[in-house]
Chain length 660, copies 2
C-alpha cells in the first residue's frame, strides 16, 4: 500500500494551486472607483503592517522555541518539522489574507456593477483562497514530511509549528480586531454620534483591518492547527493499531476532502444562485456527501469493513449538527435571541444576564453531541476512532474556512461601499451578503470549537501513548491537582485576553478622542483623520498583550509536567479541555446572541434603533465583542497548544518528570 | 478507644444547647418601638410563610426519595438515616432563622438605645444560633447514628438528607432573595425613584425576608451539608485505613471544634470591642488556635504522630487563606474592585467586562491553594488526609457560620431602622455593622466554596471505594464522556438558576408596578402597599423554579451511572467538581466585586452617587446579584449533592451500572 503515499502531497499541491489560481482570478477583477481603491489600499496597508510586525516577533519566538525543542527532546528532526510547520501555516495565512484584502473592494465593485451573484462569487472566491491554502499546505506538509522522515513521531513538531502561528494569529488577531472595534464604536458611534464605517472615524480603517486580521487570518490559522493536529494524531494512533493502513487511511481521506472541497467551491462559484445562504449550503453539503462516499470506499479498501468510515461520518455529522445548534442559539430567527432582545426592554443588566444564561445553556447539546461522537467512534474503532472522527469533521475544512472567510470580506465590502459613498443599492447587496456572513461566522465558530475539542482529545491520547501511560487515574491526587490547574488556566487565560482587549481599547479610545479634539476639522469633514496611528496602536497592543497568555500556554504544561509528572500533566490537559470547550462555546454563543439581538432590535422590534431597548442591546453587544471574537476563540488555541506542547516534550517528561 | 464514643454526641448536644440558650437570650431583648415591631413581625411572618410552603414541598420530596433510597439500595437503615439527616438539617435551619428574624429589630433597638457594642453583640448572638445549631445538630446526628448503627456505610444517608434540605434552602432561598431584591430595586429605586428599604415599596418586606431565607438559612444548610459530608467521608475512609482510630479522630476533632467555637463566640459577645471587624476576627482566630492545639494532641494520641494533625491544619489554613484572597478580590480597599469602579467611567459594558475578567482571574489563587492542600494532605496521610483537611477546614464552622449569619441580621436591622424612621445615628451604626457584614459574607462565600470543593472531593473518594473502583482512568472513553457531561451540568445548572431569578424577578416587577398603578396613594404615602402579595410571589416562584435544577442534580448521576457505569459517573463527578468550583468562585467574586465597586463609587469616587459611573456600576451590581447570591452558591449544592447521591446509590450501580 505504501506506494499510494505520493498521492497525498500531490493532492495537497492541487489544493494549494487551486488557492493560488483563485487568488489570481480575484486580483484580476476590477477594484472599482478611485475612492474605493484608496480605501482598500489603506486597509491592505494596515493588514500588511500588522503582518510585518507580527512576523518580526514571530521569528524570535520560533527561533527560541526551535532551540528549546531541539535541546528538550534531543530530536533536531522534530525541531526541523516545527520550523516547517511554522512556515507552512504562515504561508497559508499570508496567501489567504492577501486575497481577502483584495477581494473586499472587488466584491463591492461587483455589487455596484453586476449585482448580487457576481458579488457573492468574488467574496466567496476570496474566502476560498484561505480555505484551500489551509488544507493544501496542511496536507502537503504532513504528507511530505511523513514520506521524507518515515517517522510519525517527529510530525508532532509540525503540529506545534502550526499551533505557534495560531497563537499569534488568533490571540493577537482577536485582541487587534476588538481593540479597534470597541474603540471605534465607543467614541465614534456613542460619543461623536457618527454612523458605523464613517470615514471621519480615525479608527475605521483599523476596524476593517481587524476583520481581516482576526476573522480571516485568525480563523485560518486556528483551523490549520486543528487540521494538521487531528491528522497527526490519527497517524500516531493509526500506526500502532493498524500499521501502514492506519496511516494511509486518514491521509487519503483528507486528500479526498480537498478534492471534494474543490468541487463544492466550483458549485458555489459558478452556480446561478439567487439566495446566497442556500448557495453556500449547497456547496458545503455536496462536499460532505462526496467525502462520505470516499470514506466508505477507502475504509472497505484498507480495513475490509466500514467501521473506520462510520467513525469519520460520526465526526462529520457532529460537526454539522454543532453548526446547526450554534445557529439556533445565535440567530435572530429563533426564540433564544428573541428572548435576549425582549430582556433588553428592562435594561442592560437583564440583557447581560439573559445573554450569559443563554451562552451557558447553549453548551448542553454541543457537549452531548461531542460525547455521542466520542462514544460511537470509540465503540467502532477504539481510541484511533476518536482521531478519525476528528479527521472526518475536519475533512471538509477547505470549504468550511472558505465560507467562513467569506463573511469578513463581505463585511469589508460593505464598509468600503459606505466609506466610498456608493449608491444605497450597493450597500443593500453587501448587507445581504454580510448578514449571511454573520450566520456562517457563528456556525464557523461552533465548528472551530467542536473540531478543537476532538483534535485536542485525539492529541491527548497520542500524548498518553508518547509518555507511555496506559492509565491516568483520577484517584491519584496528582491527577486531581492537574485537573484543577488545567481548568483554572482556561479561566485565567480568558480573563487575561478580556483584560487585554479592554486595555488596548482604552488606548484606542484615547487616541480617537485626541484626534477629534486636536483637529475639529475631522468631524466637520474638512480635515483627514490619521488612520495610521490607530492601526499602529492596535498592532502594538495586540502583540504586547498576547505575550503573557501565550507564555502561559507554553510554560504551564512544561512546569506541571516537570514538577508533578506526566500523569498530573494528563490531568491538566483534560481539565483545560473540558473547561475550555465549555467556556469557548459559552462565550462565543453569548457574544453571537447579543450581536444578533441588537440587529433584531435594529430591524424594528422592541422600539427599534435608538430606543432604550436598543441602548441596552448595544451594551450586551459590546460585552459580547471580546467574548466572541477574542477570549472564546482563543481558548481553542490554548487547549490545542498545551496538548501539542506536552506531546512534543514527552521525551523530557519521561526523563525528568515529577520532580516534586 | 471505643469508650470515647459517647463524648461526640454529648458535645454535639452542648453545641445545640448553646444555640437554644443564645436564642432565648436574644428573644429576651427589647424589640424596640411599636413601629419597629410591626415591621419585624411582617418580615418574620414572610419568612415563616416561606418555610411553611417549603416544608410542604419538602415532605413530599423527602418521602419519595426515602422510598427510592430504600428500594434502590436495599438498605432501609440508609433510608432511615436519610430521614434523620433531613430532620436535623431542617431543625438547624428553623432554629437559626427563627433567631435571626428576631435579632434584627433587637439589633436596631440596641443601636438606638445602647450603641455599637451592644448592637454588635446581639447581631452576632443571633447569627451564632445558626452557627451552633448547625455544628451541634450535625455532630449529634452523625455521632449518635454511628453509635446506634455501628456502620459508617449507612451514614451517607444522613449526608444525603442534609444535601436535600440544602438544595431547597440554598437554591430556593437564592432564587427567593434575588427575585425580591432585583424586583424591589428595578421598580422602586430605578423607576419610582424611592430609596432602598423605603416602606412604600411593596417588595421591601420580601427583600428583607430574602436576606434571612437566602443568606441565613441557605448558608446554614450549605455548611451543614459540608460539615456532615466531610465528616462522614472521613469516617468511611478512616475506618478502612486506621479502623476505630480513623473514625474517632475526626469525630473528636469536630467535638473540639464545637467547644472552640463556643469559646470564640463568648469572646466576641463579651469583649469590649470598638471595631466590629476586629472583634469578629479575634473570636475566629482564637477558635482556630484552639482547634490546632487539640488536633496536635488528638493526632499524637490516636496515631502516635502529628501527620493527621498537619493535614487538619493544612485544611484550616487553606480555608483562612481562601477567605483572605476573596476579601482582596471583592473589597473596595484593594485595587481589583477599584479597577472595576474605574472602568465604570466608560459605561456599563466595560464595567461588566472588567467584573467578569476579575472573577475569572480570581479563581487562580484559590485553586492553587486547594491544590496545595490536596498535595500536602495526601502526602501526609493518603486519601484519608484529603478528608481530614476538609474536616479541619470545617472544624470551626460554628463560629464561621455565626459571623456569616451576622451580616444579614445587621442588614435587616438597617432596613428596619430606615423603615421605622429611626434617627440617622442608628442607621450609621447599623451601616457600619452591615459593611463589616458584607466583607464577612464574601469571605464566608469563599469559605463555603472551598469547603464544598474539599468535601465533594472527599466524598468522591468514598464513592470510588463504595463502587469498588481502584482506578478511574481518563483514557477510558466513558470517563472522558463523564467529565464532559459533568462540566456541562455545572453550566446548565448555572444557566437555569439565572433564568429562574430573571423569571421570578419579572413577576415581582409586574406586581410592584401593578400596585403603584392601581393605588397611587402608595407612593404618596397615604395608602399601604400589599407586602404579602410580593412575599407570596417570591415564595411560589422560588419553589417552582428550583424544581428543574433540583431534579437534574438528583437524576443526572443516576442516569449516567446506570447507562454508562460507575467509571463514567466518577468522570461526571470530577468534571462537575472542577468546573463547579471554578464557576462558583468566578460568579461569587464577580458579584461581590461589582457590589463593592458600586459602594466605592457611592462613597464619592468617580463622581459619586447619581453620576454616569454610578449608573454603570448599578448595572454591574444587578448582573452580579444572581451571580453571587443564587447561581454561584447553588453550585456548591450541585457538586455535593451529585456526589452524595452517587455514594448512596453505589449498591445500585454495582448491580446494574453500565447498561449501554
Amino acid at each position: 500500500m505504501q506506494h499510494l503515499n505520493w498521492i497525498v502531497p500531490v493532492v495537497g499541491l492541487i489544493g494549494f494551486l487551486f488557492a493560488v489560481v483563485t487568488r489570481a482570478q480575484v486580483i484580476k477583477q476590477d477594484p472599482g472607483t478611485e475612492k474605493m481603491r484608496v480605501i482598500a489600499d489603506a486597509i491592505a496597508e494596515g493588514a500588511r503592517a500588522f503582518l510585518a510586525a507580527e512576523y518580526r516577533v514571530l521569528v524570535i519566538f520560533v527561533a527560541v522555541l526551535f532551540v528549546v525543542i531541539g535541546l528538550g527532546t534531543h530530536s533536531w528532526i522534530t525541531a526541523g518539522c516545527f520550523l516547517v510547520g511554522s512556515a507552512f501555516s504562515t504561508a497559508a495565512g499570508y496567501l489567504g489574507m492577501s486575497a481577502a484584502i483584495r477581494a473586499n473592494c472587488r466584491t463591492a465593485n461587483a455589487a455596484r456593477v453586476s449585482g448580487m451573484n457576481r458579488a457573492l462569487s468574488i467574496a466567496f472566491s476570496g474566502g476560498s483562497v484561505m480555505g484551500m491554502a489551509v488544507v493544501g499546505l496542511g496536507l502537503m506538509g504532513v504528507g511530505t514530511l511523513y514520506i521524507v522522515t518515515g517517522d510519525v513521531g517527529v510530525l508532532s513538531g509540525f503540529s506545534l509549528g502550526a499551533s505557534s502561528i495560531a497563537l499569534f494569529a488568533r490571540v493577537g488577531g482577536g485582541i487587534y480586531t476588538k481593540a479597534a472595534d470597541v474603540g471605534a464604536d465607543l467614541v465614534g458611534k456613542v460619543e461623536a454620534g457618527i454612523p458605523e464605517d464613517d470615514p471621519r472615524n480615525p479608527a475605521v480603517i483599523a476596524d476593517n483591518v481587524g476583520d481581516n486580521v482576526g476573522d480571516v487570518a485568525g480563523m485560518g490559522a486556528d483551523l490549520f492547527e486543528s487540521y494538521v493536529g487531528s491528522l497527526i494524531s490519527a497517524l500516531t494512533l493509526g500506526i500502532i493499531a493498524y500499521q501502514t493502513a492506519g496511516v494511509l487511511f486518514p491521509l487519503l481521506l483528507s486528500a479526498a476532502g480537498i478534492l471534494a472541497s474543490v468541487v463544492g467551491a466550483l458549485i458555489i462559484k459558478t452556480g446561478k444562485n439567487g439566495d446566497p445562504h442556500k448557495a453556500l449550503k449547497t456547496g458545503e453539503y455536496s462536499a460532505t456527501a462526496l467525502v462520505v462516499v470516499c470514506a466508505l470506499i477507502l475504509s472497505r479498501m484498507f480495513f475490509g469493513s466500514f467501521n473506520a468510515a462510520f467513525a469519520v461520518i460520526v465526526g462529520l455529522l457532529v460537526g454539522v449538527l454543532i453548526g446547526f445548534i450554534t445557529e439556533v442559539y445565535t440567530s435572530g430567527d429563533y426564540r433564544f435571541v428573541k428572548r435576549v432582545a425582549e430582556q433588553s426592554e428592562t435594561g442592560s443588566a437583564t440583557t447581560v444576564i439573559s445573554g450569559i444564561a443563554l451562552g451557558m445553556q447553549s453548551t448542553a447539546i454541543p457537549i452531548l453531541l461531542v460525547c455521542v461522537g466520542i462514544f460511537l467512534s470509540y465503540k467502532l474503532v477504539g481510541l484511533y476512532g476518536i482521531a478519525l472522527a476528528a479527521v472526518g469533521m475536519l475533512s471538509t475544512t477547505g470549504i468550511t474556512v472558505a465560507i467562513d472567510a467569506y463573511g469578513p470580506i463581505a463585511d469589508n465590502a460593505g464598509g468600503i461601499a459606505e466609506m466610498a459613498g456608493l449608491d444605497n443599492s450597493v450597500r443593500e447587496i453587501t448587507d445581504k451578503l454580510d448578514s449571511v456572513g454573520n450566520t456562517t461566522a457563528a456556525i464557523g465558530k461552533g465548528f472551530a470549537i467542536g473540531s478543537a475539542a476532538l483534535t485536542a482529545l485525539a492529541l491527548f491520547v497520542s500524548y498518553a501513548e508518547a509518555v507511555k501511560l496506559t492509565t491516568i487515574d483520577i484517584l491519584d491526587a496528582n491527577v486531581i491537582i492537574g485537573l484543577f490547574i488545567g481548568g483554572m488556566l482556561t479561566f485565567l487565560f480568558s480573563a487575561m485576553t478580556m483584560e487585554s482587549v479592554s486595555k488596548a481599547a482604552h488606548q484606542m479610545i484615547e487616541e480617537v478622542r485626541r484626534q477629534f479634539r486636536e483637529k475639529p476639522g475631522i468631524l466637520a469633514g474638512t480635515d483627514k483623520p490619521d488612520y495610521a496611528s490607530c492601526v499602529s496602536i492596535s498592532t502594538t497592543a495586540a502583540l504586547r498583550e498576547m505575550f503573557l497568555p501565550g507564555l502561559m500556554a507554553v510554560a504551564a504544561p512544561l512546569i506541571v509536567g516537570l514538577l508533578l509528572g506526566p500523569s498530573a500533566l494528563g490531568g491538566l490537559l483534560t481539565g483545560s479541555l473540558v473547561t475550555g470547550v465549555l467556556t469557548a462555546i459559552f462565550m462565543s454563543n453569548s457574544g453571537g446572541a447579543w450581536d444578533n439581538a441588537k440587529k433584531y432590535i435594529e430591524e424594528g422590534h422592541h422600539g427599534g434603533k435608538g430606543s432604550p431597548a436598543h441602548k441596552a442591546a448595544v451594551v450586551g453587544d459590546t460585552v459580547g465583542d471580546p467574548f466572541k471574537d477574542t477570549s472564546g476563540p482563543s481558548i481553542n488555541i490554548l487547549i490545542k497548544l498545551m496538548t501539542i506542547v506536552s506531546l512534543v516534550f514527552a521525551p523530557l517528561f519521561l526523563q525528568y518528570g515529577g520532580l516534586l
